[in-house]
Symmetry: C3
């Protein structure tokens, strides 16, 4: 009997398992109809204590594209949490109603608790400022499909590198590959936290540098990963106006970038990428949205053991 596996942290998957997942996602992208009935009779529960249309609809589309069905809630106000029920009790209940759970929660660690009590696999669909593993996997798939590799890449990460959870997760995952070089592009106030540098980047042996403007590094990048600079992170309005323009990508800046650069963004964007960039063939942020469905399809198949042989026996938890 296989033990139950969950995905709470992107590193819950070993390097080998991550590769197999990306391979499976590729197979799905290349022949979607071959997977159209794999989850018939299966139910995904989407428990979104915090609203997130993008992530929820991507998960729901993934399950439906596999032939499965979906139930759940889109915000906590319609959930039994409002009656004071614990996450542990809710997931034990929902384990009776579904075959796999995708949970988004405003509290860090809630999906880990859920995984302890659930009798079906639990996928973390984002917990507070903590982890968002399926976003990271979508990023990895997009880079690999667009660049042909995940090693030997210079990757610029731009914007709010202090609070942006997708950036931290992506760094932790990318250091598993050879020859990764990071360029951190952020205002002083939003630079990448020192624990990420000291505990993740340095021990991995990856090269890195920190800069304060996008222009100076654009020519050397293979990948530019943009993030939102949220107004509420700044202490005053002047700071915001002064700084945000250094971190906005437009057609003018794109002229500085290599022809084979790819531009990613976890979306939604507000104004950090000008809409004129959308027609540039190097803009891949809407391709990312498509890849997010393939990654989630692969993950559902993997956790439900419908595509067997994806997990390493020794890492079963």
């Amino acid at each position: 009997m296989n033990e139950l596996r969950h995905l709470v942290d992107p590193l819950d998957l070993s390097f080998e398992e991550t590769l197999r997942l990306l391979d499976l996602a590729d197979s799905i992208a290349n022949d979607r109809t071959a997977f159209a009935h794999k989850c018939e009779g299966k139910i995904l529960a989407t428990l979104f204590y915090e609203p997130s249309t993008r992530t929820r609809l991507s998960f729901e589309s993934a399950m439906m594209r596999l032939g499965g069905k979906v139930l759940g809630f889109a915000s906590a106000q319609n959930s039994s949490a409002s009656k004071g029920e614990s996450v542990a009790d809710t997931v034990r209940m929902v384990s009776c109603y579904s075959d796999i759970i995708a949970m988004r929660h405003n509290k860090e660690g809630a999906p880990r608790v859920a995984a302890q009590y659930a009798r079906v696999p639990v996928i973390n669909a984002g917990d507070g400022g903590h982890q968002h593993p399926t976003q990271t996997l979508s990023d990895l798939l997009t880079i690999r499909r667009e660049k042909g590799r995940l090693n030997n890449l210079t990757i610029g990460l731009c914007g709010d590198l202090k609070f942006g959870r997708t950036v931290h997760s992506l760094i932790k995952s990318l250091v598993r590959w050879e020859g990764i070089r990071f360029v951190f592009i952020s205002p002083e106030e939003l630079h990448v936290p020192s624990y990420i540098i000291d505990e993740v980047v340095k021990p991995s042996g990856c090269e890195y540098k920190e800069v304060r403007t996008m222009d100076e590094v654009l020519p050397e990048l293979d990948v530019l990963y943009m993030t939102r600079v949220q107004r509420e992170r700044f202490f005053n309005e002047e700071d915001y106006i002064r700084l945000k323009d250094s971190f906005i990508l437009d057609a003018e800046k794109m002229k500085l970038a290599p022809k084979d650069l790819i531009v990613l963004h976890p979306l939604p964007r507000i104004n950090e990428i000008a809409v004129e960039v959308d027609d540039d063939p190097r803009a891949k942020y809407f391709v990312q949205a498509q890849n997010s469905v393939y990654v989630r399809m692969a993950l559902i198949l993997m956790l439900l053991n419908i595509e067997p042989g994806l997990f390493e026996e020794e890492t079963v938890c």
Copy 2:
């Protein structure tokens, strides 16, 4: 390859295309099971920035009756619009998750913008006070199924003819048929706008008249189309009380009407049709709700090109 078609305005369909759509809706109504698997593997996204249970559930039922699946949101508060995302970005994202989109939006023109950016067909499920084309198509189907024709009819339109978008859309569509005669029944304050008379009714050559009470014209009608008189349209409470009774249909008034009259209402009704009228065989407003599912089934099949040959090549946009 067929170009992508959308339905934002009822007149996006040519007269011939409208007839073919109504024919298909008829076929569905007559043999629903023949269409039960036509959309297997397809996903409809219902993006309702403004809540509308009736329209949303009708669309969802239509897709499910075709064997397809549904995802989406029922109000803007649970959507990424609350994070400041543009309609253009949202529909590009949702194009990755679904095969066809039904959008309701409080802003006029939003579905037209959506159609420009979507990579899948977009159906306008109502935009502000502007258009609601599937309501109009349901009205046309109901009239044709109940009266056997769409030409040579005297059609009374009663209630709020100034702000009621369903009425304006219906007028614009009906003038395409021969021998239509309009009777506009409304309080002075809510009469049909002059641009509708001058730009739509007069150029079509249709006969029309305007009256202030229902009683005087009931005997001559083939169709009575009732609408809500919304309290908030009036300047004061007295006006509301004085006027609303002239536009309420009850069993007493029904005695004045021909035996083969049909009564329609886009629903929900508040009190403009007394419940005692529901049992009158001439009341067809719940039949309309049923027909709305058939029309939406036909439209989904048409826009997804699952029932081919419905579009005129020369009008592909």
Copy 3:
């Protein structure tokens, strides 16, 4: 032609029909895959004017496990009720969109009104403090599956016996079996209403007693049915603190109970059952959640006449 049947009150089913429903639920529990396609092409509408994640998701899971689909709304704010539509009009509309309706409403009697106007079967999914028949049927199924019988049982009901609707419904149903003995365990302020004693328990000939603490009766129970003691039922905070501990089940108290006791709770629990009890094999409240799906599957099959022969002809209403 069969007449339309609804389930508004648990007693809408005769004793014989209840037994057949429980038998069918057992069959489903024992071989779920045999029922996986029974409702293909059918649509359940979940009309939840009052949010209830647990009940809604259980119904949705039930329909999906039968191969059917689900549409609806999770709270009144997204429904046409907010536009002033009557329940009668809403269910006539929804009868056009679906094959069966599950309705939860904050007003007592709303599901009965719905059943009068609907053209499809209506299931009461809870109306105010009144009835919640599918909860009662889940309780009965769990007792029968865990104890092997529904007669000759001593059943302790603990907590808020005054306002708890699940308790009243359960009592009314259990008196139909032979040899039932009730032990009512509640604070004086929340004792079982006298009309339940006088009109239900006494006429049935069932033995009963009322006590004020759990400890004194635990050794004699076959079934302990726990309920929430809601803070807002008490006049002051001191009363609440003083009383609630007499009605909290913990590992210490479980030592007093027979080895073959079963503990039930309609959930959600707040703190009236300590989490340490969850690992006790006598704790069956999460099994109840699973059984609730089987009961609802059986009920849907019964009301849609997909499993024929379940209704007694003479009781068709």
